[in-house]
């Protein structure tokens, strides 16, 4: 089973020494993110995020199915992550590595467990029919910080997605094609974003945000904080690694609050641009099947 190339002793010493002297290899500040680019696709529900050289693609799809028997009033929501050899030789198809398990657990805790998507709104006929929304996350290029990029892609894709409109008469559900009625967006409650911090040094005193692949391989510990723009923590994960001072983690959380507001503004801006681009001549207001409230 091929393994990722480990950094050489020279690289390790160089990067660590540079960090001790307050320098990062690519010249960024310790808390500076790489250039973040979010592109929304032509089809609804496709988001492509590029964070430096890391690229992830999220695609949302929905179909009608039967709900789980123990939750008849909720729809089904699943997030699958695909790390293929395209991203790194350490990944194999259908053989989940620890990186993939942790990534998918983090995204799941951030987006699913925090109830970002209202599952009850996906229910069509209680106990019989519901929407099953599925997000497929593909990592195209791995240059560090998959978690932050993936979470952003998933949230942007879900907010961009539109499911076909339906109408219900008794037990009979009619699903309209996009030609008959304009698709409707999902019922979105809040937008959580992840920010990952990496620690270096014997006591974990040096803290970096947005580590590249090389920096990730050399870190002694990491902490991922997920918040939404209202300052609610959705999850915090410092899964082992060198012990760091508690105060550093509080600082991480505070720095994350600021960063998440930036992410939130970026996603809002891109979605608004996309909406304007599609809404040529103000037709969308005419096509929408929703009533004025």
């Amino acid at each position: 089973m091929p393994r990722e190339v480990e950094p050489s002793l020279n690289e390790r010493a160089f990067v660590t020494q540079a960090l001790q002297e307050g320098q990062r290899i690519d010249g960024r500040a310790f808390d500076q993110f790489r250039s973040l680019d979010l592109r929304l696709g032509e089809q609804h529900g496709v988001a492509d995020v590029a964070l430096g050289k890391t690229r992830v693609l999220a695609k949302v799809s929905a179909e009608v199915t039967t709900p789980y028997s123990d939750r008849p009033f909720n729809g089904i929501f699943a997030i699958t992550t695909e790390l293929s050899p395209m991203a790194s030789p350490a990944f194999e198809v259908n053989r989940p590595t620890e990186t993939e398990v942790l990534l998918s657990r983090l995204i799941e805790k951030t987006v699913r467990r925090s109830n970002a998507l209202d599952l009850e709104s996906l229910c069509l006929v209680a106990g019989q029919k519901c929407w099953s929304v599925r997000v497929d996350l593909h990592v195209l290029s791995h240059d560090g910080n998959l978690i932050d990029a993936s979470c952003l892609a998933v949230v942007a894709a879900l907010r961009h997605f539109k499911k076909p409109d339906t109408s219900i008469e008794g037990d009979h559900v009619t699903i309209y094609t996009p030609a008959e009625r304009e698709p409707v967006p999902l019922s979105w409650l809040h937008s959580p974003f992840c920010v990952t911090f990496s620690f270096y040094g014997e006591n974990g005193d040096i803290m970096l945000a947005d580590a590249t692949l090389l920096e990730e391989q050399l870190r002694v510990s990491s902490c991922t904080v997920s918040l939404n723009k209202h300052g609610e923590i959705c999850q915090v994960a410092k899964l082992g690694g060198t012990a760091v001072e508690a105060i550093s983690l509080i600082q991480c959380a505070s720095a994350a609050v600021i960063k998440v507001k930036e992410f939130s503004a970026l996603v809002d801006e891109r979605l608004a641009d996309d909406l304007k681009r599609r809404d040529k001549g103000g037709l969308l207001a005419e096509l929408s099947a929703e009533n004025e409230r």
Partner: protein, 275 residues
């Protein structure tokens, strides 16, 4: 502690009669299995966990960093031991009898967390090209699962005689405020049981002994960012109490072993034992 019918504000007592900073009944034993290199049994209230250590053993072939259903490996590289953790949650451990699949992602995440935390605490550089296997079995779940697993693993590793920097102890802490409220009167709570975990936001904190250094921090529920510091501080305090308890378990066992003649009195012991 149900928030709707909360009686907490009246007497500041929780459902089981504890105050906010009281731990549940802790019970621990080491060397429960004579055949294993190290073993322990820990009860935190009704959460009961067993741990068995095999190691350090010689590496039987190449190992990669894959997460397999048999355990999560933290490779030690060429100069240190691999730490492999595997967790088996008994189907009878929770209220509903449920058979968990071995390769469950939640279990894998727990395994990876414990393996990484222990790998940085144990002196694994003393055992290159070896493997330390940690097997955890959950017999009963009543909240604070990750904390109990970490504490049991620490006890068993002390029994196995693997050198470490300090006890790695963990405890949970929660907050009586809801996730959107900004109330100042919200109290932190320590060592939550299942009922409290289902209703309140909580986190699990693992510290290195009695210091304030955090090795593990897991929070999976929504909580205001301002609550985080209070919860972490109470959990850190509780961890000090847990460390004291674990240390006591180890010392008592050691005392018993000497009095029963397992070790010859005066045979190369640096410390004076008051027998």
């Amino acid at each position: 502690m149900p928030l709707d019918t909360s009686t907490y504000d009246l007497a500041l007592l929780r459902v089981d009669g504890r105050r906010w900073n009281e731990l549940r009944r802790l019970h621990g034993q080491i060397r429960t299995q004579a055949a294993a290199d190290g073993s322990s049994y820990l009860e935190m209230g009704n959460t009961k966990v067993m741990c068995v250590i095999a190691g350090p053993n010689e590496n039987a072939g190449k190992r990669g960093g894959t997460a397999s259903s048999s355990g999560s490996t933290v490779p030690g590289g060429s100069g240190a031991a691999d730490v492999v953790v595997s967790i088996v949650v008994g189907g009878f451990s929770s209220v509903d009898r449920r058979r968990r699949a071995r390769g469950d992602k939640r279990t894998q995440e727990l395994q990876a967390t414990i393996a990484k935390a222990l790998a940085s605490n144990l002196h694994i550089h003393l055992y290159p090209r070896s493997t330390i296997s940690i097997s955890l079995h959950v017999l009963s779940q009543d909240g604070s699962l990750l904390a109990a697993l970490i504490n049991a693993a620490t006890l068993a590793l002390v029994d196995a005689g693997i050198p470490m920097t300090d006890y790695l102890v963990a405890c949970t802490a929660g907050s009586t405020s809801t996730h959107s409220a900004g109330d100042e009167g919200a109290d932190p709570l320590v060592d939550l049981n299942t009922q409290e975990e289902q209703e309140l936001p909580f986190l699990t904190l693992g510290t290195l002994g009695a210091t304030d250094k955090v090795a593990v921090l897991v929070c999976e529920t929504r909580v205001q960012v301002s609550r985080l510091e209070g919860m972490m501080a109470s959990a850190a305090d509780a961890c000090k109490g847990v460390r004291k308890f674990l240390d006591q378990v180890v010392r008592e066992k050691g005392h018993k072993m000497v009095t029963e003649g397992t070790i010859e009195k005066g045979a190369k012991m640096a410390m004076d034992i008051d027998v």
